[in-house]
């Protein structure tokens, strides 16, 4: 059975994250969770698109959005996706150190993204866009804020893993955990690409 593919192998298992039944369950279950998250963000995006014209005399998208700042944020998040991919490739190579290194890179980039987002919100608030200013503002903060909360959770989650497994080497227990965390991170990125397009680009351009 799967569990017997042990650490005693001469060679590394090609996919340590799915070498055990537990790992395969985690992998599949997490993907399904992401399927649900798709609908969750779909609902928020739909709400935003339905309400984005409802500015009620408050500022609207075109008055507010710093497209260049958001563009930089997008680049940062895309790059953090790449670093996490590199981390997993190194995990499969058996390099614990490089895994940790690339993952810390992801965390730092994620934190930078979050910092910019907080600055962004602060700035919009200064310009008169409170959460309750209009239906548009509520929907905007709800959508981007939920995404931001996901980023925050991702940062905390990955950091926890990195600290917990700083000395453990790559094991059949932590490989699935790193893998799911990275999947989660990619998903956040996917959602952001979509938010960048429909909220920011369409907000300025359409």
């Amino acid at each position: 059975m799967a569990e017997q593919q042990a650490s005693t192998y001469e060679q590394l298992p090609p996919n340590p994250e799915t070498a055990t039944l537990d790992g395969r369950n985690k992998y599949l279950g997490f993907w399904f969770f992401l399927g649900g998250e798709t609908v969750l963000f779909g609902s928020l995006i739909g709400t935003y698109l339905g309400l984005r014209a409802g500015t009620a005399d408050g500022p609207g998208p075109a008055d507010l959005f710093h497209l260049d700042l958001v563009f930089i944020m997008t680049m940062i998040l895309l790059t953090s996706s790449l670093t996490s991919v590199m981390a997993i490739i190194n995990m499969k190579r058996g390099s614990h150190k490089k895994l940790l290194g690339w993952m810390w890179g992801t965390v730092i980039l994620g934190a930078a993204f979050l910092g910019f987002e907080i600055y962004e919100f602060y700035d919009y608030y200064q310009q008169g866009l409170g959460f309750g200013t209009s239906a548009f503002s509520s929907a905007f903060y709800a959508l981007v804020g939920t995404h931001g909360a996901h980023v925050l959770f991702g940062i905390l989650w990955i950091s926890t893993l990195l600290i917990r497994y700083r000395n453990s080497g790559i094991t059949l227990t932590n490989a699935p955990k790193f893998n799911t965390a990275v999947l989660y991170w990619h998903f956040i990125d996917v959602v952001w690409v979509f938010i960048f397009t429909v909220v920011y680009l369409l907000g300025i351009g359409g």
Partner: protein, 610 residues
């Protein structure tokens, strides 16, 4: 690293910390039954109030709270958990697994449901339950005074999270945990339909989560999603609610269909007619279940094109449902039908549900729906499908699997009394309501005026409700008086699927050796074409099982505390609650728990005793 933690000192502690799918299944059943009784009492109170025109048994406000809580309780806290109970107990047995894919999450799902349900009901004691209907349409709900609606929002959010977790767990269990030889197309129909229902849960509940989140932000934090004066739109709530709400009724009915697809072949002693057509129809129903939500909103002003499309899509659901009905009838055709109580419920289901189904098609006729919508016709329709389908399914499942779960058979005589009284009461209650609706009685009314001609039929309806209650009390009594029927419980009905190959109740690791499945209706195959025993897929050896843990309760408790913080906007309480939850999650993540092994000697000992 494996720590052996077998046997616990304390029974209560044992149940609080269990991760065994069978115990969690029983917990779900107990919790669901509690809320079922609660919802039933709410229903009876409403029926008493409606017995006479302009009756003043209850105030209008109380009535609105009751109707809201009855709907919410029955859907979220009774029907779904009861089905989850059966799914938890039976699915791993049916696919030849020792446990579910995520035992820890399974326990977490249950405790979240329970705490969410209790939280919702706390509202009765804190100044008023939610009063805007189970659909909580804005702006009635966003402007409702008091904390009732906040309890609704937080309670459903917490229990909904539990349901979502449960759904994912079942999906992965079915995909990854099947015994050797148990291909997807050899799975019993109950497992199949629960699998599809879990898919619906996965995609439906996030929409509810967002709906509830938005309404919470609106009520508590000054959001303006539904505030027309600030550019908001009230129909967004209705879409989000029904994108969840319509699949929800299929989440309820599909597992019930699955139960009937187990019960009917067993008691007709015949293989399920058109197995693959049944699977296919289940998938189609699941798919179409997502395409039709707006038929709840025909009168809201979406426009004729939208109405026409959703009307036609809704009608289409009748086709796969019809396929199922005819397949059941043809399963019975040529069989040797035994009228046990379990089968009576299944047989009672067919005509009752078909009657609910045809009114469903009538409701799908959008132009005619302008007359039906929001009247007692609708009330009659959904009670016909939900009681005639889901509740009958639950009772059928209870009588069918009771010996497996508890090691004794429920008394058949009392069972038959229960069935007939309930069936008559049910039709008495709801049949007349079709006509009440057509004659002009709108739904969710706290009373009706004298001289509008509703009195007699409402009286009949209330009498029927009393009859149903009496019948249910007989059932409750029979649970406690049947305990001595312990002979022939392992395979009392000449069962067809794997769960009947285990002892009753099953050992806590289900199967000493994982069975080898050689075809559909695996056990029947071995009984009638083999030597009557399942072949083993593995040698007898140590069995790995997960450890019990208290963390699921701690996580759920934390969320409940945080919910009170949200309801009364006490920020430190929110932080304390979330701190407990995330702290417990952190512990779970950091402190690795790899379960324990049951030594082969102990298994041999169990086998000798069994």
């Amino acid at each position: 690293m494996s720590t052996a933690q077998t046997g616990s000192k304390n029974v209560i502690w044992d149940w609080l910390t269990t991760v065994d799918h069978k115990k969690i299944g029983i917990l779900y059943l107990a919790g669901g039954a509690f809320f079922f009784v609660l919802g039933g009492i709410e229903a009876i109170l409403m029926r008493i109030q409606l017995m006479f025109p302009e009756f003043t048994f209850l105030g209008a406000q109380t009535f609105n709270e009751l109707l809201t809580m009855h709907g919410t309780t029955m859907i979220f806290l009774a029907a779904m958990p009861l089905l989850f109970g059966f799914m938890n107990f039976i699915i791993p047995l049916q696919i030849g697994a020792r446990d579910v894919a995520f035992p820890f999450l399974n326990a977490l799902g249950f405790w979240l449901f329970l705490f969410g349900g209790l939280l919702l009901n706390v509202s009765w004691f804190t100044g008023g339950a939610p009063d805007a209907g189970w659909t909580a349409y804005v702006p009635l709900s966003s402007e409702s005074a008091g904390q009732g609606l906040d309890y609704y929002l937080l309670g459903l959010q917490v229990s909904g999270l539990g349901t979502l977790i449960g759904g994912i767990n079942f999906l992965v269990t079915v995909i990854n945990m099947r015994a050797p030889g148990m291909s997807m197309m050899r799975m019993p129909l109950f497992t199949w339909s629960s699998f599809v229902a879990s898919m619906l849960i996965l995609f439906a509940f996030p929409a509810l989560t967002i709906g509830l989140l938005l309404l919470m932000l609106e009520r508590l934090f000054g959001g303006q999603f539904f505030a027309v004066d600030f550019g908001g739109n009230v129909i967004i709530w209705q879409h989000l609610f029904w994108i969840f709400g319509h699949p929800e009724v299929y989440i309820l009915i599909l597992p019930a269909f699955g139960i009937f697809s187990e019960v009917i072949p067993t008691f007709a002693k015949k293989r399920l007619f058109g197995y693959s057509a049944m699977v296919f129809a289940t998938l189609i129903i699941g798919f179409l279940g997502f395409m039709v939500w707006a038929h709840h909103m025909f009168t809201v002003g979406m426009g004729p094109v939208a109405n026409a499309i959703f009307a036609v899509a809704t009608m289409a659901i009748a086709v796969p449902t019809g396929i199922k009905i005819f397949n059941w009838l043809l399963t019975l055709w040529g069989g040797r039908i035994r009228f046990t109580t379990a089968n009576l419920w299944a047989l009672g289901f067919i005509p009752s549900f078909v009657m609910g189904g045809v009114t469903g098609v009538m409701l799908a006729v959008s132009a005619a729906n302008y007359q039906f919508h929001d009247t007692y016709f609708v009330v009659a329709h959904f009670h016909y499908v939900i009681i005639g389908g889901v509740v009958f399914g639950l009772f059928a499942g209870a009588y069918f699997w009771w010996p497996k779960m508890f090691g004794y058979r429920l008394n058949e005589t009392m069972g038959k009394w229960f069935f007939w009284l309930f069936l008559i009461g049910f039709h008495l209650t709801f049949f007349v309501q079709h006509f009440l609706g057509l004659l002009g009685m709108q739904r969710r009314v706290a009373s009706y005026l004298e001289g509008q001609g509703f009195g007699d039929m409402n009286f009949v309806s209330t009498m029927g409700a009393f009859l149903m209650s009496i019948a249910f009390i007989i059932f409750l009594i029979s649970i406690f008086t049947s305990k001595k029927n312990t002979e022939n419980v392992n395979d009392p009905w000449d069962g067809r699927s794997l769960e009947w190959t285990t002892t009753s109740p099953p050992l806590h690791y289900n199967y000493p050796q994982t069975p080898l499945v050689r075809g559909l209706d695996a056990f029947w195959l071995e009984k009638y074409e083999g030597d009557g025993r399942m072949k083993a897929a593995e040698p007898l050896g140590d069995i790995h099982m997960p450890n019990p843990t208290i963390l699921p309760i701690v996580i759920s408790l934390g969320l409940t505390i945080a919910s009170f913080g949200f309801i009364y906007l006490v920020y430190w309480l929110i932080f304390v609650g979330l701190g407990i939850t995330f702290g417990a999650m952190f512990i779970r993540s950091v402190k690795e728990d790899h379960g324990h092994h049951i030594p082969v000697d102990e298994i041999k000992r169990d086998l000798e005793e069994g």
